[in-house]
């Protein structure tokens, strides 16, 4: 990231270190527990209300050598799952006291399975995620969340009262509103922060205490709103990125370096992570079940129309010129949707660049060439020099 905003600079300094960072060390230094989570259908609020720090298991800004993980996970397991387990095998996740996984996809559930078998943590829990949005799905999902809560209570040695849950929901909702405000700024031309920088900001939400995060994000927003953000190049091609999980901000940086601004996304490290809010007027467990199951869905849910609706809403609201549809190899749910998204985008006369990647890929030469050609085409199409 390049920029001069004070809050951003501070942010970079504080959030550096992966997976373990300063916040984790401080948290653990106070004798408190950190719980890893896999997949955004694990409500962080429940872990937070138990007095533990939720931390999203993932890779970061680097494509890793995955040999160790591959001796446990076959080569056709997506590289996201293999990356998570590689890091665990190398001891990078040793600061975790537990792991909670949603059975979102085959990759996620098998990541949990091999972790449990080969590197068990004091607290291990996996549960199902319904694939529908109907009432009974919310009901069974809530049942599973209640079980998670009960087990976390036992592990934490404290009750997760409705009041604690409400407080956690308020803190997380505040974070969601701030992230939404950050995305609102991206509607500007040019946006005050690059897509790569925004991805770093969103990732930090999953790696530090949310109240500290909110405070930092508030300061960043204040600076950006006052026009004190890092300088951005003038009017450019506006892109949206959609598809499989994406953590490597160098990938977005590479796209932006060749003359585009990534202004929005449909990623679980982006809008799908924070869109909407938990209803604070409802019973907290009911509210969590409804929010998590009903926010913009990933590709594994039925029907896929709801996912497509979110994509098209983003395209319209953020005035997108073109779409980059990226799929991590062996990411089956997104792979199946790929031709249908392309078809729908073409029907709207919206160009799409499809990229099949390994998770963690930065900006390789081949990708760069394809992205450059795509952006050139868009520039000609929109008369942008």
């Amino acid at each position: 990231m390049t920029g001069s905003a004070t809050a951003l600079a501070e942010w970079r300094e504080q959030a550096q270190g992966f997976p373990e960072n300063r916040f984790i060390r401080e948290w653990k230094g106070q004798g408190r527990k950190v719980i890893g989570w896999v997949c955004i259908y694990v409500p962080e609020e429940i872990i937070y209300a138990a007095g533990m720090l939720p931390y999203r298991v993932s890779g970061d800004n680097e494509e890793l050598e995955l040999k160790k993980a591959e001796s446990f996970l076959y080569i056709n397991t997506c590289s996201f799952a293999r990356t998570g387990f590689q890091l665990a095998l190398e001891g990078h996740y040793d600061f975790l006291d537990g792991l909670v996984a949603g059975e979102t996809c085959d990759g996620a559930r098998r990541l949990y399975d091999v972790w449990q078998r080969n590197r068990p943590l004091p607290f291990m829990h996996v549960y199902g995620i319904p694939r529908k949005f109907i009432d009974r799905s919310v009901r069974i999902y809530r049942t599973d969340l209640e079980e998670l809560k009960n087990r976390l209570e036992l592990f934490a040695g404290r009750e997760i009262s409705p009041e604690l849950l409400r407080q956690a929901i308020q803190v997380y909702n505040r974070g969601r509103r701030l992230l939404r405000a950050l995305y609102e700024l991206r509607k500007m031309d040019p946006p005050p922060l690059s897509g790569a920088e925004v991805l770093e900001v969103v990732k930090a939400a999953m790696r530090m205490p949310r109240d500290s995060y909110n405070a930092l994000l508030e300061r960043l927003l204040a600076e950006l709103s006052a026009g004190n953000g890092p300088p951005q190049p003038p009017s450019k091609i506006r892109l949206m990125v959609l598809g499989s999980i994406l953590n490597n901000s160098h990938f977005l940086q590479g796209i932006e370096e060749v003359g585009a601004a990534v202004v929005t996304d449909e990623l679980c490290t982006g809008t799908r992570y924070f869109w909407g809010e938990v209803d604070e007027s409802l019973d907290p467990m009911e509210a969590l079940a409804r929010y998590y199951l009903n926010r913009p869905p990933c590709a594994r849910f039925q029907p896929n129309d709801r996912r497509f609706e979110h994509i098209f809403r983003m395209i319209e609201e953020f005035k997108v010129h073109g779409v980059i549809s990226e799929i991590v190899r062996y990411c089956v749910p997104y792979g199946h949707d790929k031709p249908f998204i392309k078809e729908r985008l073409q029907q709207r006369d919206l160009p799409v660049l499809e990229l099949d990647l390994e998770y963690g890929l930065g900006h390789s030469g081949q990708v760069r060439t394809r992205v450059e050609a795509f952006i050139e085409m868009l520039k000609i199409r929109h008369g942008i020099g």
Binding site: R110, G128, R131, I140, D144, R300, P333, G335, H336
Partner: protein
Amino acid sequence: MTIARLPEVQDLIDHIGRLIEEKKDAYQLKSTIPYMRLMTQYFERAVRAKGEGKHLVAHTTQLPVEIFHAMDVVPFFIETYCLFLNFFEDFQEFLGIAAEHGIPSEICSVHRVTDAMVMTGAFPQADSFVFSNLVCDNTPKGGESMAELLNQAPSYFLDRPFKLTAPHMAYWKEELEGLVSFLEEQTGRKMDYDRLQEMVRISYRATELCQEINELRKAVPGPLPAEGLFAQAAVYWLLAGLPEAVQFFEQLRDELKERVSQGIGAVQKERFRIIYPFVAPFWDMELMDVMEERYGAVTVMDLLGHWRGKGEWLVDPSDPLGNLARKSSVFPGSFHLHGPMEEYVEDMVRMGREYRADGAIFFAHIGCRQACATIRAIKDELQSQLEIPMAVIDCDLVDKAFTSRKEVLDKLDGFFEMLEEQKR
């Protein structure tokens, strides 16, 4: 791209018909021909359905077909059709069509082929479409794709829960009730629950017979030759709830009983007892014959024939949908592939122990992520608990270009040499 005429359901029927004529005296089991006739009849019903004014339901794997039979709709099990047709045809054309459509090559080839089959009308246009999340990510997403490609045929998605505690079973039963409502809406007829109850009873009888057959397969020498391996799974998959399935299983059971009592094995001299913790080599089923002849290796059990525990699922006869929901907690493949890995691993160890296996072969279908991710755990447990070595053969279930028979046999030569050493 020039496309040759693509095979259709009638071609499959003709293939099976020719096979019956050519090989009727070559099979070891008397029940093999009836099995093939049952398959032919099943696919003929699908071809005739439209002409007879019947409602045709295309559906994905592991669904309780008893519901379709009780509603008097004609089911068409898409993946099984794909597997059967693959026995006779090469699917490169279909795979090419899927690629042109933009489906990534990492997607399971079975689902790429079935998508292409829908696009090219390679099976009859269904009136409605039912799919589920059993047993992997490919089924719900492939199902959704097919539903869209089937000119937006009315469709119903069954969401089978990950765990099977009481509330999850209640959820699953409600999903099945939703399927009944969907079919009632599509056909304009009401479900006859007495009929469903009777079909569930018949289905359970077939389960009991499968268990008897599996007990007989524990005998040394193993009585079931390769030709009967898929029959057991296919008949249950397609015909559960129908009396002809029970008749078939009775015939197979009696035949195996006789062979066991006379000490007749699948091969003249059984050298090795092999289990498949996953599927059979569907892309080249003759491999199993070759293994019998070349190594004296008998496949004594495979995942698709292995019921959990005693396979008990009929608890309250007056609750047919509740029983069918329960069935998926013991049904071969369903609970192994859909649920947590440890239960799958434990059951494979049980399989190795009960069937006195000398070795295991895991045909690692490159498109099957949830199964292949268990390879290391199953291999470790078979070895450490039972000293059963496991070979892993990289393959693709229906893409014959993925690997050659020679390549596979080279690997198997080494594996059986090692087993031979171990026996000495």
